[in-house]
């Protein structure tokens, strides 16, 4: 059986000056002992045998080894993905609707939860305070009526749409709903992306 190495590297062009260029002597021509290590064992093909006993056990041995190795590698890889995270819960209450004036951008939960609660004439939406450029926390500039990221200068309108700087897409909106007691509840794990047309979907806007 031609070796795997010969098969793969035989088709590549040899680097000039290297020892793999044609024209060098074969091992036999160099006078080396080329007796194969492996002794040929007779195989009775009339009985339908297609593999020798030693090859069968050799193959199954290696198979078992690689199955073990593969399982160990997969297990190690899975080890690095924890199931339980000790991060803050993505669902949290942000107060009653009356606490927010119409036209206000609420920064009360900016530092602790990285969201803005924005109220317009129709109702509420929650913007994720993670700049879509590289993840810094932008600031709301009331006097200039825009969100501005301090890292690289990305600018967003009140709606979250980007209009200046390196941000490639608008700020993401996160799910905002009302619970039984009438409090606003934000769920940061559910996001709505403008560029995917998701800003009309249920949960992205709360009509009040």
């Amino acid at each position: 059986m031609k070796s795997v190495v010969q098969f793969f590297f035989g088709c590549l062009p040899a680097a000039p000056g290297s020892l793999f260029e044609k024209g060098t002597m074969t091992a036999a021509e160099q006078g080396q002992d080329i007796t194969p290590i492996r002794k040929d064992v007779p195989m009775d093909k009339t009985r339908g045998l297609w593999i020798t006993r030693r090859d069968f056990f050799s193959l199954s041995g290696w198979l078992a080894f690689f199955v073990f190795l593969g399982t160990a590698i997969l297990g190690t890889f899975r080890f690095f993905f924890p199931r339980v995270l000790f991060e803050a819960a993505p669902v949290f209450k942000v107060g009653f609707p009356d606490e927010y004036a119409v036209g206000e951008v609420g920064s009360k939960f900016l530092k602790s939860k990285k969201v803005w609660i924005v109220r317009d004439e129709q109702g509420f939406y929650a913007l994720s305070a993670v700049c879509t450029h590289l993840g810094c926390t932008p600031r709301w500039l009331e006097t200039e009526n825009k969100f501005k990221c301090p890292c690289h200068g990305s600018g967003f309108h009140r709606s979250g749409v980007n209009f200046e700087g390196p941000a490639p897409r608008p700020l993401e909106r996160v799910k905002i709903t009302l619970d039984e007691s009438g409090q606003l509840v934000v769920d940061k794990s559910v996001t709505f992306l403008f560029e995917k047309g998701e800003w009309g979907k249920l949960g992205s806007f709360l009509k009040i």
């Binding site: 680097a15 690095f80 924890p82 991060e87 590289l134 993840g135 810094c136 890292c151």
Partner: protein, 256 residues
């Protein structure tokens, strides 16, 4: 017999110093070949190996800086705890309370920045002298891998002071990771392959969805154990290949 002769003939002395210090060529060669640290170099080198205008010496300087970083790094480990609760405070403690702490921490930081510079200069020199041509082309590939490992070591180490600079640098870096094709949840074909914020390559790097205590611990283990070991293995291959390919490359005979 005076005391010097007695010492030199003692068993202890002869078991450690095997070849004496006679300044003859064979004895010099014996000293080099029988020493595990010295025999990295061959017993004789070409004269051009000392021509700094040609070789720049940046490979050796990079290795020296790596040793400085390992030594200062291990020493700093005696006072640093990689948890969000203690990391920043321990760094401040090292700087202002520990005797020579500021000196050692600065040595570590300076050596880190300098090593990044010297490996780039080494790469530039190898390119300018054509030392990547056969039979050295494989060593160039190993060198590029070492470059990537050096930059990763720098990146992981940057988080460890756990200050604003560290945290935001890693936030930006790992946010770039989420845009990786196929492996990131915001990259091309990522969502199609089932990548979400809690199972993509950014999650693997950070051990979570944000830069927090798990990320600090992961970066600490990568920075102190995993990456240095991998870099060490590749350095072994890199130096071995230099020896086997005929030592540091020299100008061709036509130019001399």
């Amino acid at each position: 017999m005076n005391i010097r002769e007695q010492i030199k003939r003692s068993q202890i002395y002869r078991s450690i110093i095997r070849h004496g210090y006679q300044d003859t060529k064979p004895n010099r060669m014996h000293q080099i070949v029988s020493n595990v640290f010295l025999h990295l170099h061959p017993t004789s080198v070409w004269r051009h190996g000392t021509d700094i205008r040609f070789t720049w010496g940046m490979g050796g300087i990079s290795f020296l800086l790596f040793i400085v970083l390992t030594a200062t790094g291990v020493i700093l480990m005696f006072y640093y705890r990689p948890t969000a609760e203690y990391a920043y405070a321990d760094m401040k403690y090292l700087e202002h309370d520990v005797p020579f702490g500021m000196f050692l921490r600065n040595m570590h930081r300076w050596a880190a920045h300098l090593m990044v510079i010297t490996v780039w200069l080494h790469m530039l020199r190898v390119f300018l002298t054509g030392s990547y041509k056969p039979p050295r082309e494989f060593n160039w590939v190993v060198g590029v891998l070492l470059l990537v490992l050096t930059l990763l070591l720098s990146f992981t180490g940057y988080l460890l002071p756990w200050d604003q600079l560290a945290m935001w640098a890693i936030t930006v870096g790992t946010n770039m990771a989420r845009a990786t094709p196929l492996l990131g949840y915001e990259g091309p074909f990522g969502p199609e392959l089932g990548m979400k914020p809690d199972n993509d390559i950014r999650f693997l790097l950070l051990g979570g969805t944000q830069v927090g205590p798990p990320a600090l611990l992961r970066f600490y283990v990568l920075h102190c154990i995993a990456l240095p070991v991998i870099a060490g293995i590749f350095m072994i291959v890199h130096f071995w290949r230099v020896r086997k390919d005929g030592g540091i490359s020299r100008p061709s005979e036509k130019e001399e």
